[in-house]
Symmetry: C2
DNA sequence: TGATGTGGTTGACGTTGTCAAGTAGGCTGG
DNA sequence: CCAGCCTACTTGACAACGTCAACCACATCA
């Protein structure tokens, strides 16, 4: 029987996410999060050790969510060869738009994460699985045989990251506008079409 | 006669930049900046009104610096057609590596900037001048006549932004390693080569 | 001479992140 | 049955923080 009231740790992370979504990660306080979750002011320190630890926890959750989203998108039928990269990049963008606070914690708050072995390992794993995807695409004939895999991987990662940032920062259209997704798709397709 | 001791305002911005470079923008305090600049704890509030105001001032300076760097790179001889886009992107990456605090303020602290008319205007201007660059490239025959200018502009902006983020976050190699610049160049060239 | 800025300072207020210490309840071995 | 330990917090204190009102010294100019 799962409890209807979530454990304190998760309640705190949920509150953090909710508040960060409105105000930006940098502008939410530990005590505020604790208040919002109905706990005492020192509860965050109890679970996460420090503010930095709490952000790290959110980043870990974010990386897990992102990985799930991307895998799920990849498993949908109909995308083979080069199209797989379109699916991958658009899943990344969708994740950024759906979980801006998590995205911020993972990709835009690097100072707190530097040197965290677990986080670096997971990030390396994410890059590794992207490399596998690119290799699969090549095996399926979607990439020229002389394409440099590492360059394609980094190029694709950079473009996905860039489009996601543009989308989050409102440079592809006002918040919630479907034009954002359309612009993102145009950009991504343009990019994928240009791969060697 | 310019004074050897800069005015308080600029001393504060310089201190903010120096401290943020070591610790990340989010982890420097107003009072700390004031101390570092040799001023009283309330000096930042006097000049910038609030913490947010101070970050806005840094972002404004950053946008100006970026604009100068890119223009200067573009004026160097030898780059015509498609090569202009390589020069542009690499200037962007160099700026990010040389001024990480400014880059953070401009591109990774959007909450503080939302709704600031002056900042939005300058950002729109930056995008506009990128558009002009792309149009020039097409006029020089560097782009197919049926290329969609807007998509190319956004694609280029996204990739430049992404590569810069990768570089700053240490994903192209350890800090200061010349391999970073080499990787960035490979990625950018791969991207530009794929444009329609 | 006096008004008006400009470029700051001082001091106070409420709030924040962190830490040491305490507490309440559940589990486990003897 | 109960002592000991673990988990999941709370309480209270501290220094540091951002902001604000008030003040000060000097320059400019009518």
């Amino acid at each position: 029987m799962e409890p209807t009231v979530v454990a304190g740790r998760e309640a705190l992370l949920a509150s953090l996410e909710r508040l960060a979504r409105e105000r930006g990660l940098a502008n939410v306080g530990l005590r505020e999060v604790a208040r919002d979750a109905g706990l005492s002011h020192a509860a965050p320190a109890h679970f996460f050790g420090s503010r930095e630890g709490m952000l790290r926890a959110l980043a870990g959750e974010g990386l897990r969510l992102l990985y799930e989203d991307v895998c799920e998108a990849q498993e949908a039928p109909g995308a083979v060869g080069r199209e797989r990269l379109v699916v991958d990049a658009l899943a990344f963008v969708r994740f950024a738009l759906a979980h801006p606070a998590h995205f911020d914690a993972v990709f835009r708050t690097p100072a707190a994460l530097r040197g965290d072995a677990q986080f670096e390992a997971r990030r390396a794993e994410a890059l590794g699985s992207l490399r596998e995807l690119v290799e699969l695409v090549r095996a399926e004939g979607g990439l020229g045989p002389d394409a440099d895999i590492d360059t394609v991987v980094l190029q694709h990662w950079a473009l996905s990251h860039g489009v996601a940032s543009l989308a989050i920062d409102g440079m592809l259209g006002p918040d919630g506008d479907p034009a954002i997704a359309e612009a993102a798709e145009r950009i991504v397709r343009g990019h994928v079409a240009g791969l060697p």
